[in-house]
Each structure stands twice: as structure tokens, then as C-alpha cells.
Symmetry: C2
Subunit: 434 residues, 2 copies
């Protein structure tokens, strides 16, 4: 290298799995473009993996090590953490920052559990912390929230942030399949893991919801703050009832302000979304996040939420940003929790509901049921009666109501003689109006 | 202000129209949030307008001046230019940069005509140039292209970037209205101006296409490089034919690489988009931009493309970013035209086409027409024959073909006895495959 060439920006990579090997490949394949865009070459100095004896596509063999601690201690300009999990990822990131390295991570679990510790270490050591790849893979989403909307006031975030569950729900909808059949298909195609709990239980989405909520509302939110319900209880009957009403069922991550503006509520659960809402047409393993802001209005960000190459693209975008900061002497945005809103229970959330009832087929049933809603202050938007005799059913959609008042309504409905069974209860999101 | 408070970041605003007054309002209304997010207060030191005697909502009267040059010369930390037009905007921006001010602008016409001059002045003076609001209003789009995708390779950009034409086309589709009726409705509702040429002629979209193409392909692109066709020739019959085939017609801004990767082609024209493409459901005055990148795959950014408050939101996001740079000593991304690809003529573009023909109703017609396509190397994907006798029609959709070969095909078709009239020819975008 000639004396006039800019010094390379050194990069240490922790993790050589699906994402890590794609990051290594892109650093090599796109080296010339990256150098031009950064203003200096990005030089990969090592890749820490669990088993250094195994060959990996795209990862230069002489850079591979199983000693992550030593690689971290070398003080690279940038350490990329794509190992996942809480430990040893957290300790390695803190060591890296103490050694003066900026950090790019895709680790949603760690950020949602203990992001505050990472932010603090970044501030104490004067380094950057970037994590675009932690939510919704390749979709530029955290940068828009942290930067593009930094002059606006976010009102609500509604996201499809788990590709596995969206794939399963899409199959249930398009094929009329039961949950278990759609899950098996997702597993056969590699969209769901053998133990699908983290996805279908909503826990993966909850971690992402916490990260999104913290950025959107400038308030510390952890995964424990997120009310979480998965899709295992969604039935083919729910899907069919939704379709009949012009809705689709999606697993949503929702973060919103309380009515009095003093708090935020963050929740993950299946919800019915009207067909004409932009989220309704997000199918298969795609992700999308819908954001409502005071001045900007409604926005949506759509794309691939997972996979090695899409996630690596997001990591590389962060790498370029941090490298540019190293050269210009700038710093990316730090933690922003100044608003300090209270994280409230889902019991305070106000949403619309769908309630599906098996009812007795006799006069006066609708009056008794409507009274149960009215007694709890829940206003009915639409009622539909289906079938006769033993098949008589009633579907109710409500106006906005609190979780608590809806729960009391359902308790009352179960005690009515006219109600044989409460077949399904689900929240409705994405509708305008009261 | 106490000695320990951070010094304010000063802001001078050029332009007090729809966008400017919203920017001033947000600076006042959101002052506390902005100060917390930036780390220092943003202090508006003046607003230059054409007529200083007129009161403006949201603009403090004592800050209003009609002397833009003097305000610019005060060397504010940040000058916001929302006047529009080439001059005096360009001279004022260059003066501001020479005085050490960073610049945030929403001026698409100036950027598309002479962005290089602005970038150069920013580099020469060591200041920032940000312009998120210049394309697609509130939708965070330029920051994702400049930063989030900086480690990826963009293959194609397909955008609905003009709300007026999308509103008109949506009306034509939903009401079966003729172009002139839908235009009159858009004018009555304030979505189209009395002289709608800049919108319906595609020129506004072309300026935005140039800005997007430059960022996506790291190549200098100006408005003059963009092939531009508006929507004035779109008929109710085209819209109906599209619907019958499962398509909608959109005015698209398209930027893509040539097959041999040595060039880029940038074009604005009406196109048929399949109903299941994410762009198809972008209705009324909404904007959306679909981006395909090598690693990230397909993404879409959706939201409000115009209006005072949405555009002001984008300006404020840039203001916060530039203010943070001022404090950290960092700099935003500069011009990136290192790739230096050749901008090619639309004649080299390869797209699919829809061709709608009035034909004679007799044996052998289809064979003659198919031969005309084959003679020019254009491969047919779908043919549909409609009607009989004088109403006999034929609709053809082709596989990928070059503009030149399609033009020769249409010339040949016009000379066939079997073809009474070429009713419509339109490009088809957003389909996968050959």
C-alpha cells in the first residue's frame, strides 16, 4: 500500500454461522465498492467461530480462530458480533468497547434483555453501537426510527417482525390449513425450527418489539416489559371468520402511547387486520413495519426479515456507517431514553375485538349478549348471526375497548345460558376511527 | 442560559410557504424533544420569505425577513432551504456553505439539475448537505439508500414518486373514469395544480428519479438523463385491459443497471404492474419505492410523498442529524459518484410490453401477428382474443424485449392488413422471470 493510501479500517468478526459467513463473503467480494464508499478499505482481521477446524464458505481459512477473547482484545476499529445469545456475546462486546472498538451487532436477544449496559459502555468508551440487523433483517428500519424520524413524534408502531409465524399464518389463510399442518409445512421447508417455541410463542417478536419501542418512544423497554401471546391458539375457524369479514390474521408487534401520553404499551399477539391495510398484503416470510408519526403520517417498511444475505446486508450498512464515523471523527446516535415514559400493562391497552360465539338458536339471544357487552362499557361495531339450531353462531366486532372490560365481558358471556361456547376472541388492529 | 448548558445550534430558514411554516412550527412546538435528541437546543434565528408583511401561522413574526441574503450571511450552524426552484436557491445555498453553514434542502429540481455543484461546495467548505425531503416527502428513503444499503449492491429501483398522478390513476381505476375527468377531480380536491404539466408530464417524477438513481448507483445522474413520458396518453381502455389481465397502471420511476453492468438506465413512464406486486396496492396520493438489492433482496418504503407536515418531518430529521454532526464533529455522507457508470438511452432498456390491437376477424390473423413479433425477436408471453366482427381485439403481453425491437414490431404491425389499429402499447414492470 502506498504512503498516500488511507489506513484500512480493521474489522473483527465474532460468529461464523449463516450471517457471519455472508458478512465475511461481502467484505471480500465487495471490497472495492466498500473502500470507495467508506473512503478507506475495510480489512477483516479475524473471524471467531466455535469450531475452527470446519471449513466455511466465504471465510478465508487463515483468519479463522476459536479464540474470540483474543481476537476481541486486538482492538479492531470495529467488532461485528453475530454469534447471538446473551453470553458470551455480552462479555465480548464489553471487552471490545473497553479496547476502543466500535460494535455492530445483530443480537436482538441481548439488546432486548440488557441494551442499556451496551449503550453505557459505548458512551463510556466513546465508541459506536449499531444494530440495524437485530430487527427485521435487511429492512432499513432502526436507522429511520433513530434518525429520519428524530424530528417527529411517533404515535404507534405495528409490525410483522417474525417471518416464521407469518409464513404459517399465510399457509393457514391460503390453504385453509390447520395450525399444526401449516407448522409442519414450515418446518419441512426450513422456515421453522424443530423446536419452534421462540417463533410461534411470540418471544422472538417480543424482543424485536422491545427494541422498536425503545427507539420509537425514547424510553427504556426490555423484553420483560412486553406482553406476549403467540399463534398456537389460532384456529382454521378464526382464519375463516376473519376472511368472511374482510380481514387476515397476523402476528403483530404493537408499541403505542397510552391515551394520557404518560406511558407506552408494548405487546405481541395475533390480530385481525383489514384486507385494505398495507400490512394485510405482507405474505409468507416477509416482514413489514407500519409506523404512524404525528407529522409524517403513516409509513411502512417492507422486506426480508431474516436469512444470511439480507441480515448481512444490514450489518454491512452499519459497518460502512461506523467506518465513516471513524474517519470523520463523528459518532452515531447514542441511547435515547430521555422521555422516560412508564411501560404500562396490556390491561390498559384500548383495542377493538372480535368475539366468536356458539349460541342457542332462540329469540332474545342477541339482546342478552348485547346487554353483556353494554354492562361492561364495550360498544359493538358489527354483529353477524350465522347458522341455525345446533350450528347457530354469532360474531361480534367491537369498537375500542380496554383489555380489562373485554375480559369481564367474556366472563359474563360464559355465564349466559344463551352462550354455549366462546369459540374465539382476538384483537383487531389497523382500523381507523373510534 | 446557564454556563453549563450546551450552546444552541442556530438554524436559518429560507422559505415560509407550506413546508417552511411547518418546519418553523415544529422547531417551536417540539423544542424540548429536539433539544433532548440533539443534545443542544435548536434555535431558529430567522425566516426569509418573499413578503415579510404577511402573517404566517407558526412563524414567530420578529424572525421574519425578506432579506434572504443577509440572513444567509449570518453563518447559522444550519441553513434550511425550502424555497424551491433553481435560483435564487442555488446562490443562497452556495453562500450559506461559504459562510460555514451546513445545508438541509427539499429542493428536488435544484438537486436533479445541478446537485454536483452543491456537493462540491459542501466538500470544499467542510459542511453537510442533507436532502431527505426532496424525494417522497416523509418516507425515509434517501438515508436508507445512502447509509443502510451502503454495503450492498442495488440492482433496481421502481418508484411511485408523484402523488398527483397516482391519485389520478387510482380514480381512473376505481371509477372507470377517463383521464380528463380524473384530472378535473384531482384539481378540484387540490391534488393537482391548475397547470398540471409538471406532474402529469412526468417531469416531477423524473427529477426524483435522477436523485434516486445517483444514490443507488453511485453515478452522476441529472434530470436531463431521464427518459420521461407522462400519463396524459393513458386511456380508460388501457386501465380496463390492465384490470382484465390482473394488473394496475402506475406512473413509475425506474432506475436499473444495463445487462452488461456498464451503465444505468433511468426512465419515467406509465407501466402495468401485477396486482400481487407490493406497488399495486399503493393508492391515491401515497408514494412508495421498491428497491431490489443483491443481498437484501426486495424492499419497499411506503408513505406520504408530499404535504407540508410530512415534508417538514423529513426536514426535521435531517436537521437533527446535521446538528448531531455539529456536536460530535462528524460529517454526513458526501457525494458518491465513484462508480461512474454510463447513463444509457431507454432504447437499451429491456422490459415486457402490453400491446392492444384492433384486428380483422378472420382466420390467420393471429399467425400473421405472431410472425411480426417473432421477426423482431420479441417473444410472446400471453395472447388474448376478444370480441368478434368489427369489435375483434387482440391483447399481447411479451417477455423481456428491448425498446428498439418492440418499436420495430409495432411498426410492422401497423403495416399488416390484419391490424386495423394499434390501440395501446405500454410497458409491464414488476413481474419475475424472463
Amino acid at each position: 500500500m502506498s504512503a498516500s493510501s488511507p489506513a484500512p479500517i480493521t474489522v473483527a468478526l465474532l460468529g461464523g454461522g449463516t450471517v457471519g459467513s455472508q458478512v465475511a463473503r461481502l467484505l471480500v467480494d465487495n471490497a472495492a465498492d466498500l473502500a470507495a464508499r467508506v473512503g478507506a478499505p475495510l480489512q477483516l482481521i479475524g473471524v471467531a467461530v466455535r469450531d475452527a477446524s470446519r471449513a466455511r464458505d466465504g471465510v478465508p481459512a487463515h483468519l479463522v480462530t476459536d479464540d474470540a477473547a483474543s481476537l476481541t482484545a486486538r482492538g479492531a476499529d470495529i467488532v461485528v458480533e453475530v454469534m447471538g445469545g446473551i453470553e458470551p456475546a455480552r462479555s465480548l462486546i464489553l471487552s471490545a468497547m473497553a479496547a476502543g472498538s466500535s460494535v455492530v451487532t445483530a443480537n436482538k436477544a441481548l439488546l432486548a434483555a440488557d441494551g442499556g449496559t451496551l449503550y453505557r459502555a459505548a458512551a463510556d468508551n466513546g465508541v459506536d453501537l449499531y444494530f440495524e440487523a437485530s430487527v427485521a433483517g435487511a429492512i432499513p428500519l432502526l436507522r429511520p426510527l433513530r434518525e429520519s424520524l428524530a424530528g417527529d413524534r411517533v404515535e404507534k408502531v405495528l409490525g410483522i417482525v417474525n417471518g416464521t409465524t407469518n409464513f404459517i399464518l399465510t399457509k393457514m389463510e391460503s390453504e385453509g390449513a390447520d395450525y399444526s399442518v401449516a407448522l409442519a409445512e414450515a418446518q419441512a421447508l426450513g422456515y421453522a425450527e424443530a423446536d419452534p417455541t421462540a417463533d410461534v410463542g411470540g418471544h422472538d417478536a417480543a424482543a424485536k418489539a422491545a427494541i422498536l419501542a425503545e427507539l420509537a418512544f425514547h424510553t427504556r423497554v426490555t423484553a420483560d416489559d412486553v406482553s406476549c401471546e403467540g399463534i398456537t391458539g389460532v384456529t382454521a375457524a378464526d382464519v375463516e371468520a376473519a376472511r368472511d369479514m374482510g380481514f387476515v390474521i397476523k402476528l403483530l408487534a404493537v408499541a403505542e402511547r397510552t391515551l394520557d401520553d404518560s406511558g407506552v404499551i408494548v405487546r405481541v399477539h395475533p390480530a385481525m387486520v383489514p384486507n385494505d391495510h398495507p400490512l394485510a398484503s405482507v405474505r409468507n416470510a416477509f416482514n413489514a413495519v407500519f409506523v404512524e408519526a404525528e407529522s409524517a403520517g403513516a409509513m411502512m417498511f417492507y422486506g426480508r426479515g431474516a436469512g444470511g444475505a439480507p441480515t448481512a446486508s444490514a450489518v454491512l450498512g452499519d459497518l460502512v456507517a461506523v467506518a465513516r464515523n471513524r474517519i470523520s471523527g463523528g459518532r452515531g446516535p447514542g441511547e435515547s431514553t430521555y422521555a422516560g415514559l412508564h411501560v404500562r400493562s396490556i390491561d390498559e391497552a384500548r383495542t377493538r375485538y372480535y368475539v366468536n360465539l356458539d349460541v342457542a338458536d332462540r329469540p332474545g339471544v342477541l339482546a342478552a349478549i348485547a346487554q353483556a357487552f353494554a354492562d361492561n362499557g364495550v360498544s359493538i361495531q358489527v354483529v353477524r348471526q350465522d347458522g341455525h339450531g345446533d350450528d347457530a353462531g354469532l360474531i361480534v366486532r367491537t369498537h375500542l375497548a380496554t383489555e380489562g372490560s373485554l375480559r369481564r365481558t367474556v366472563d359474563n358471556l360464559r355465564m349466559l345460558d344463551a352462550v354455549k361456547n366462546v369459540v374465539g376472541v382476538m384483537r383487531v388492529e389497523g382500523e381507523a376511527g373510534p
